[in-house]
Symmetry: C2
DNA sequence: AACTTTGTTCAAAAAAACTTGAACAAAATG
DNA sequence: CATTTTGTTCAAGTTTTTTTGAACAAAGTT
């Protein structure tokens, strides 16, 4: 059993600003985002940051994120960088404050689009190039039979790529009713 | 400059069976799969194993995978376990051999279904449970305004979950023309 | 039954990914 | 212009994930 003075040694978030620590519901909602982040290959810290913004009724500053999540400035800085790049958070100007404040993107469609554009499309693009290179290598193959087989498999791969491409606009359409490219964000509604 | 006897120390794949090493096109095609594996959060070795099977004109045995990919038995064993579980490879009986032989699943639709069933659905399921827990926590929230806001966000999250659920059958349909659940694999055609 | 072949398991080693914090840059303030 | 505030960068530390290989189990052979 622990000594009662252990209270003083306990590593426990210390209230420093006017928006301290996390409530139970916030903690578990953030947990949901941490898991979701893991699922799509993003680090925990990014899930935490987006999660806290998602919970918050108002835009949060860099410092508030550091304080309430109890993670380093470095993590927050890098995390926000990625989230900005994904379009998952937006800078929000707060009058009378020099600090950057952030709001979460709440439209699932835009979140998905950001993710696809940033993490998927590049691979699809470079992928197409790679398949062409393979095509060239196959020509160097010795006997006819293996060349034929190799080309066959390459064809399969190309069809997979193509189908993935075609899938994306469909997913976007189901998610929100507009086409994938060249759509400027509709401005503030409670479109989720 | 290296001593010429270094040749004897060089770690270099040694031909031991009748199907040695990898050709140029195989190497780069395997590379494509290694990248794809990374994209969906699977380790390199799994990409390599599936990739080599995908390249091969015939079923390959455990040993052939170890030899040609130059990776450990442990990696191959664990990798095949995961691939089997995903339905990405199938055991293939070869008369006159005691060894297990494997063939790759070549239907994109089945590959995607396996991945979703194994890696996504579980999270969606447990996710629903988690949201209900959050609901309970929110009730403990002090003031009315924050409770309202919290419930609002929870609602958003629920709608995201639901939309994800609805998306899956649509994706499967686009990929192959049949519904997601309760569909027995159509037997051998060259359906890709 | 002893031996061989085939494949799995799991603890330890290696590699990769993530986080931290101190040094730094940029811009606002006095 | 010196100082403070705010945020970024990056090398080093930490944690997590992946790979390895030796020991083991299961099943087939002689």
């Amino acid at each position: 059993m622990g000594h009662f003075l252990d209270l003083f040694r306990m590593k426990m978030p210390v209230k420093q600003s006017d928006t301290p620590i996390l409530s139970a519901w916030e903690t578990s909602m953030i947990d949901v985002f941490v898991r979701a982040a893991g699922l799509i290959g993003l680090p925990r810290s990014i899930g935490e940051i987006y999660g806290l913004l998602f919970c918050s009724p108002k835009a949060l500053s860099f410092d508030e994120l550091v304080e309430r999540l109890q993670i380093s400035k470095g993590s927050v800085s890098q995390g926000l960088k990625v989230l900005r790049q994904l379009g998952a958070v937006k800078l929000h100007y707060v009058p009378g404050s020099r600090r950057d404040h952030y709001l979460p993107e709440l439209s699932m469609k835009r979140l998905v689009r950001g993710f696809i554009k940033d993490q998927f499309e590049p691979h699809l693009l470079s992928g197409a190039q790679r398949l062409d290179n393979i095509d060239a290598f196959i020509e160097e193959e010795g006997d006819e039979a293996s060349r034929a087989h190799a080309l066959n498999r390459l064809g399969t791969l190309r069809s997979w790529q193509q189908r993935t491409r075609k899938l994306i606009p469909i997913v976007m359409a189901v998610l929100g009713g507009a086409k994938f490219f060249d759509k400027e964000p509709t401005d503030e509604e409670t479109i989720i």
